[in-house]
């Protein structure tokens, strides 16, 4: 699975991340926590500058995943 290492590292540190960085955008590269940023723009800029196309994980801490559009259910795609 793509980003498996990064997502596992995030999950392993999730409680601590939510304690210190809730709402911020964090970057993981492999198992390494790269940093926390105030916006997706800033995190993406840093990730692309340092690691190009990746792989890297960028995730907003403590924010639920956006729901998939209801129309996809109508399409039969979900």
């Amino acid at each position: 699975m793509a980003l498996e290492t990064e997502i596992r590292a995030y999950e392993a540190q999730r409680e601590e991340l939510e304690r210190h960085y809730k709402g911020k955008f964090v970057i993981f590269r492999g198992e390494e926590f790269i940093g926390a940023f105030d916006s997706l723009d800033a995190a993406a800029d840093e990730a692309v500058r340092r690691f190009g196309r990746g792989p890297y994980l960028i995730r907003q801490v403590g924010v639920p995943v956006e729901p998939v559009p209801a129309s996809l259910i109508c399409f039969g795609a979900f």
């Binding site: 699975m1 793509a2 980003l3 997502i7 997706l40 723009d41 800033a42 993406a44 800029d45 840093e46 990730a47 692309v48 500058r49 190009g52 196309r53 990746g54 792989p55 890297y56 994980l57 960028i58 995730r59 995943v65 956006e66 729901p67 998939v68 559009p69 209801a70 129309s71 996809l72 259910i73 399409f75 039969g76 795609a77 979900f78």
Partner: protein, 155 residues
């Protein structure tokens, strides 16, 4: 003020039927431009190598969706930067969706850049390659006339 026709008023015999079948459709540019993110200015060096030239694809204006989405096959074809995966539950069980960095532009009308979920449009037999959600529509005027099969979109 640019006004884009997103319906099918010239389709014979029935523009209304065409709009009902296809939905409001507009050509959009999809790509990845690192210079849109952050304050680093024009993309040079390694950042420029990551840039994905935009291609134009048909998009469905989906006022039922909050966020815009990009076809998963298109995202892979363009080699957009993959930044996350999201596990979501639907009527047919849980699925994992990829999340990409990209931009979607309706030329002359609207631009959105950020993260977009990859969804299975082409694989599901859909014509459209992008769903345009309300986040992209928040600064535009949209007039839907089902009787004439016309949909006008303006900034």
């Amino acid at each position: 003020m640019p006004v884009i026709e997103c319906g099918f008023p010239a389709v014979n015999p029935s523009p209304a039927d065409a709009l009902q079948i296809w939905g409001p459709t507009v050509q959009v540019d999809v790509g990845f431009d690192p210079s849109l993110f952050g304050q680093s200015g024009p993309a040079t060096g390694a950042r420029a190598l990551v840039a994905v030239p935009a291609i134009q694809v048909p998009a469905l204006i989906d006022t039922g969706a909050q966020q815009s989405c990009i076809d998963e096959q298109l995202a892979q074809q363009l080699n957009l930067p993959l930044i996350d995966q999201a596990k979501l539950s639907g009527v047919s069980g849980a699925m994992i969706f990829n999340v990409y960095l990209a931009h979607i532009a309706i030329p002359g009308v609207a631009l959105q850049y950020g993260q977009f979920t990859g969804v299975h449009l082409q694989a599901g037999g859909q014509y459209h390659r992008v769903l345009i959600g309300r986040t992209l529509l928040r600064d535009v005027l949209l007039v839907y006339d089902g009787r004439s099969g016309s949909v006008k979109l303006a900034r």
